[in-house]
Symmetry: C2
Subunit: 467 residues, 2 copies
């Protein structure tokens, strides 16, 4: 078997010697502003897919294709092992990125990567282009260190282009291509780990339902002195809706919202509690001054294992300088709900819909628009393939690997459902990377450990990864 | 005495024959976009003051001056009666206007007056340039019809330039000039009446406190999956504040808010109830689909005689197209409170300040900015000068004059306090005029009745107006 110090050294040497070229390639990709939420960036998202397809072909994947969807294109690549009995692994990631404007607080152009103090700053550096691309360095290190002509597993990659827009066409895409995507194990590289010092494997992701609620009151803005206090005000009603999302214990107050929630086990709570959590550090990463959340749960439990409701945006009436004494004609609320295992996306959407309708007074019209939905997912701690990931990371990091969950959301559960394969997570991003925020970055040291882990993983999975 | 059919006919003939010239002058004034809330319009507000001063001098006022303030200038004019025992009357109005943009829903340029179907459309047509200017036509009709060389009362005009910005320097201005403003009676022409068919005299105005509350949470927008549900969200807190403004009965829930409120008497409630109120008509004027307000009060009582809290604007987080899964870093709330007689502006401001501080969780910083404040005011129904106004209107309209109050706010109470004179209201605007809204207009027929009323009023006050 190839789990030897020699192999480890060979992998590390390969990764180190190809680091500069790898970073140049990643930077080239990061310069393409593949913002899937912005219709004006559709061509950039396509350019990003083309860049990745060409890069995968150049890496050696015999198959590298663009898969069109009604929205943004995905990229599929395949590299058969040559061994008819080999395990098949599908790596999932995404090549689209969150919106980013220099004015949001970026110190440098979000689409002009800058390397500084061992970090690479750019939109998508950690979420998710960096974590997709370490796999191409990893597979080359795997082949070089083991002397193989093809990977130890049948390796497939599916890199979608709409993850930051809620993956609206992803379930359809994987259903349509289920045959070609067939696999024994899914590796999702779109998550983080605890910290640079405490490498961890993620065992689950929360799901996501998000929506916009538009409220309409008076047909136009009206004088607050002449009419205020006697007609419903849509800004007030938007506020009352947002306020009614949580009860006094900050539990979500929508009837039925918690139906089916898989509660934390005592063992999971104990494992979470063992992590070196420092509230002051965490608050710095969160750019926040205090914690606040569901009563009866720790901060880690709140962000990893509890469903939440969040106001992403609210707007209505006059927002310019000074005052304007009006009852506004309309208001808008953007809400997102994080879901945990056991919650059903459609049932949550229906519960929100019923709750909104029940809250609003006569005279306020409303519409709800759902932006798409992502199911929650959870991997058993004792799964053999999860143990392979833990060993591969252990070799790369030289440390004990602990367990976390991911508070964010990805289409992992869809892969699990459609392909019938367990979903594992291999991510090297850390909380300070600033996903979705200005000045997103990735730690270069961790990016290289990610490539090493990917280089070790295929041999271990080939030997031990079957259930 | 001059209360004769001959005088009435002479006044009407004068007003009719000068109508076209008057409308041309008013249109010239309305073309000056004197938006006091917009610092970029400061020169226009000054031009508006200059235009009015010149117009008053041309009308015959021996004194016509611009009075500077730290903000926008006011205009003062004086026309002594010549009779040493004559009553002194001060007319109050304002020459600044609300903001208006074509894009807000105006069918025509808000600063290019259009006359159509007996109406004049322009920002300020009714609020308040039209109602200021009918006095100049009125005084000329008064002199022409009575053959006088000077008005029957010592006539003073004070037309301020910051009413739509909450009159921040008005109390200071009138205190500084209290000697020159000294009077027996104040006539405020900045209110409305019931309808074209039901002329009314207003007996009180609500006061106004308005403010902006800025809430700060995370130092930047953060990922709702990584941090949401575990830190305070300023958009949620802004919504909770706005929602907590009212209890389930839509009473204002701020402790101390109702302290001192002068409750409606049975007689006032009966007079209100006699007015031909048609809820469907009123809702059309309010561009609204339903009434909603403080339990236990009628719509008229809610807008005229009850204090209210209104959300004029709310904003925070992502408001662009689609979704963005963030916890926003900041949110903002613009609130206004209408006050009734007995409420104290400073006490309400302090109550709001205390209440806001008590509502917010740890981790949310906030600032409150007050935009200025206007005190409420109420005139006794049996005041002799009020009876003069009722008679003068009765001659102009040929109908019984009923009583209303005004839900809006003006600096009437400051005049009452500083000058020690009772405040009366002479306004001819109707609810459909669209104050503060797109397509503001004034009914030309009512504008002429206003001029006639002003022409009759000075004789009646001279004879009967003393307490």
């Amino acid at each position: 078997m190839s789990n030897t110090p020699d192999t480890d050294n060979a992998v590390r040497a390969y990764v180190d010697s190809h680091r500069a070229a790898f970073l140049a390639e990643l930077s080239e990709w990061l310069r393409i502003p593949s913002v899937s939420a912005d219709p004006a960036r559709a061509d950039d998202v396509r350019r990003s897919a083309q860049w990745l397809r060409d890069h995968l072909a150049a890496t050696g994947f015999p198959v590298a294709e663009i898969w069109d969807t009604p929205g943004a294109p995905a990229v599929f690549a395949e590299w058969p092992s040559g061994d008819p009995d080999a395990l098949t692994v599908l790596v999932y990631g995404h090549h689209d990125v969150q919106p980013a404007d220099r004015e949001d607080g970026w110190r440098t152009d979000p689409f002009e990567p800058v390397i500084e103090d061992g970090r690479l700053y750019a939109r998508g550096a950690a979420d998710d282009k960096g974590q997709v691309l370490f796999h191409t360095l990893g597979i080359r290190a795997h082949l070089s260190a083991t002397g193989r002509g093809a990977p130890a597993v049948n390796l497939k990659l599916l890199i979608e282009g709409e993850e930051e827009s809620g993956s609206p066409h992803f379930p359809e895409l994987i259903r349509a291509h289920a045959d070609r995507l067939a696999c024994d194990t899914v590796i999702v590289s779109d998550t983080g780990m605890w910290s640079e010092d405490t490498p961890t494997v993620c065992t689950g992701m929360r799901g996501l339902v998000d929506c916009q609620i538009d409220l309409h009151g008076p047909g136009q803005d009206i004088h607050s002195g002449s009419f205020g206090g006697a007609v419903p005000n849509p800004a007030t009603e938007a506020a009352r809706l947002a306020a009614a999302l949580h009860d006094a214990d900050r539990k979500v107050a929508i009837p039925g919202f918690y139906d089916g929630v898989v509660e934390l086990t005592d063992r999971e709570r104990a494992l979470f509690a063992e992590l070196p959590f420092d509230e002051a550090d965490w608050l710095r990463t969160a750019h926040s001054r205090a914690t606040l959340g569901e009563a009866g749960y720790s901060t880690l439990e709140r962000i990893w294992a509890r469903p939440t409701a969040e106001v992403n945006g609210i707007g209505g009436g006059y927002q310019g300088p000074g005052g304007k004494t009006i009852v506004p004609s309309a208001a808008q609320l953007k809400l997102s709900f994080r879901l945990v295992a056991g919650q059903d996306v459609e049932k949550v959407q229906a519960a929100v819909r019923d709750w909104v309708a029940a809250q609003l007074p006569a005279g306020i019209r409303h519409e709800i628009t759902y932006w798409g939905a992502t199911r929650p997912c959870l991997t058993p701690l004792d799964h053999p393939a999860l143990q392979s990931v833990v060993r591969a990371m252990g070799r790369a990091f030289g440390q004990e690997i602990r367990f976390t969950r991911e508070g964010g959301s990805g289409p992992a559960a869809d892969l699990q459902d459609v392909l019938g394969a367990p979903v594992l997570f291999l991510g090297i991003s850390v909380p300070s990377d600033g996903w979705h925020a200005p000045n997103e970055k990735v730690e270069l040291g961790l990016l290289m450990k990610g490539a090493e882990t990917a280089a070790h993983l295929w041999d271990d999975l080939a030997e031990n990864g079957r259930e």
